[in-house]
């Protein structure tokens, strides 16, 4: 029997994982179906837009400006090995808009928003506020999850667009002030090199990441365990699962968009 214990453990873990995936898929279906049916809670949606979109701007902007600057330095020093220093504006631009803007923006929003959504909804669950919603004839998924998921799906692409611009500006600042690039040549190079699809693909990724972040925050909040420990665990799970799903989805979308 002891010989079979590892196999049994593996089986239990696999079944647990499949059950969790099933619960997340079911929750996703509920959110999507409620998104299409009235009533719509406009006030809660606008509140979520402010919380998720507006208040995430500083953290996304700071991440973007430092990432753009560091990227410019790396590409310059790496490019110097084969006399390709002049590609700095092009690679900074494409790196930011296709990959780093959406991924780092998504991860920063995951850290800030998935945790706060999970903590807020988890606390509502342990203090019976979610039960109170039901007794007041209000569906908790429709009232709590749908406005947050819709707001994140719509606002994260905007954050990504702003982050892209700030990231490119970070690269430009470093390029012009530390690496000796001419300002107008740097900007012209960036504009000429970027294609519309580079930008649009990053925005589509941003929408997908926003959806994932809010969905994971709401799911883990609503399935939170009891007490402070339960809420803490829900918060941690929301950030970890959102981050992993963002990276996995990024790989899948990159493959879909750029390898055909």
């Amino acid at each position: 029997m002891r010989l079979l214990a590892p196999v049994a453990g593996l089986g239990r873990a696999t079944l647990g994982l499949l059950a969790a995936l099933g619960r997340i898929a079911f929750f996703t279906g509920q959110v999507l179906s409620h998104m299409l049916r009235p009533p719509f809670y406009l006030r809660e949606f606008l509140h979520a837009v402010m919380q998720i979109g507006w208040f995430s701007l500083p953290v996304v902007g700071l991440t973007a400006v430092f990432t753009g600057g560091a990227l410019a330095l790396q590409i310059y020093s790496g490019g110097a090995r084969f006399n390709a220093e002049m590609v700095v504006p092009n690679i900074v631009a494409i790196g930011i808009v296709r990959e780093l803007g959406p991924v780092l923006g998504g991860l920063m929003v995951a850290a800030r928003v998935a945790s706060s959504i999970a903590a807020e909804i988890g606390t509502m669950k342990v203090t019976e506020q979610i039960d109170a919603l039901v007794t007041l004839s209000t569906n908790p998924v429709k009232y709590l999850a749908v406005p947050r998921v819709a707001a994140a799906t719509l606002t994260v692409p905007v954050l990504v667009a702003v982050g892209d611009a700030i990231g490119i500006a970070g690269g430009w600042l470093v390029g012009v002030n530390r690496l000796g690039f001419n300002s107008s040549t740097y900007l012209q190079s960036t504009v000429n090199f970027l294609e519309g699809w580079d930008i649009v693909s990053g925005l589509i990724k941003g929408a997908a990441f926003g959806f994932i972040v809010a969905l994971m925050g709401c799911y883990h909040g609503m399935t939170s365990g009891r007490g402070a420990q339960g809420v803490g665990q829900a918060t941690k799970s929301a950030v970890v699962s959102a981050s992993v799903m963002i990276l996995a989805t990024n790989y899948l979308l990159t493959g879909l968009f750029f390898t055909s």
């Binding site: 009533p39 809670y41 509502m124 203090t127 019976e128 506020q129 039960d131 109170a132 039901v134 007794t135 007041l136 004839s137 209000t138």
Partner: protein
């Protein structure tokens, strides 16, 4: 009438309800007593559909509660939660008027606020409380706001989950008196779950004792005091010795 027939509910290996049968006639105030962890709150949540029973039936006026239209069914209920369960992101009046600001019972905002303030007055709170947030209120005031929310849409059936827990004896007396007055005035059916014997005496038309997952005893307050049932006697007198194990 609310009728429960052999309702069972387990959480994993823990069988909480093991065949609860109970009738609560319309207009009656039923108080369910029992030790901590005996499933009193689970019983209320089963009636409301917040928890799905494993077996048994629950009917409201002869209709199976799992087969009725949910919104119309829930519109007949109000509930005061143990901790108040007020929405801390909303002002007091928005909590009280929650049901009146959305859904089928939606009213204009000004009218909903008027009703909320009137309900706050009914539970002894002044209109200046209306614009505060729940975190700015004391425990007793939060209970009163919870009570105002429970009665705001004038439900036919009101549930009170341990309404006096955490309150001092004077505030507990005030809440008990309010519940009794409101239930009588509205002619509502009420189910209260409590360990507090002063609540039982103030609120109950009839008392049921839940023990070991079943209704062990039912009767009026007078019958409760006179019964020779050792479980009821131990519970109402708060004795450590008796058939109910002190350590559970």
């Amino acid at each position: 009438m609310i009728a429960l027939r052999t309702v069972t509910k387990s959480f994993g290996r823990n069988a909480v309800l093991r065949g609860v049968s109970l009738d609560i006639p319309s207009g009656q105030s039923m108080v369910i007593i029992g030790g901590s962890g005996t499933g009193k709150s689970v019983l209320l949540k089963c009636i409301l559909g917040l928890v799905r029973p494993d077996a048994g039936t629950i009917t409201l006026d002869g209709q199976d509660v799992t087969k009725v239209e949910r919104d119309a069914f829930l519109a007949r209920f109000g509930m005061l939660f143990q901790g108040g369960a007020l929405f801390d992101s909303m002002r007091v009046w928005e909590n009280v008027a929650f049901r009146l600001l959305r859904g089928t019972q939606k009213r204009p905002k000004a009218e909903a606020r008027e009703i909320a303030i009137e309900k706050l007055r009914r539970v002894g709170l002044t209109p200046d409380v209306a614009d505060l947030y729940p975190a700015e209120l004391s425990g007793g005031m939060q209970k009163r706001v919870g009570l105002a929310r429970a009665i705001a849409a004038e439900p036919e059936i009101i549930f009170f989950d341990e309404p006096t827990t955490g309150l001092d004896p004077i505030m507990a007396g005030v809440i008990n008196a309010l519940i009794r007055e409101i239930v009588t005035e509205m002619g509502a059916t009420a189910i209260t779950i409590t360990h507090d014997m002063s609540s039982v005496r103030a609120i109950a038309d009839k008392v049921a004792m839940l023990h070991a997952g079943v209704i062990r005893w039912t009767g009026s307050v007078g019958e409760m005091d006179a019964t020779s049932d050792p479980y009821v006697q131990q519970f109402i007198h708060g004795r450590a010795e008796g058939p109910i194990a002190a350590i559970r």
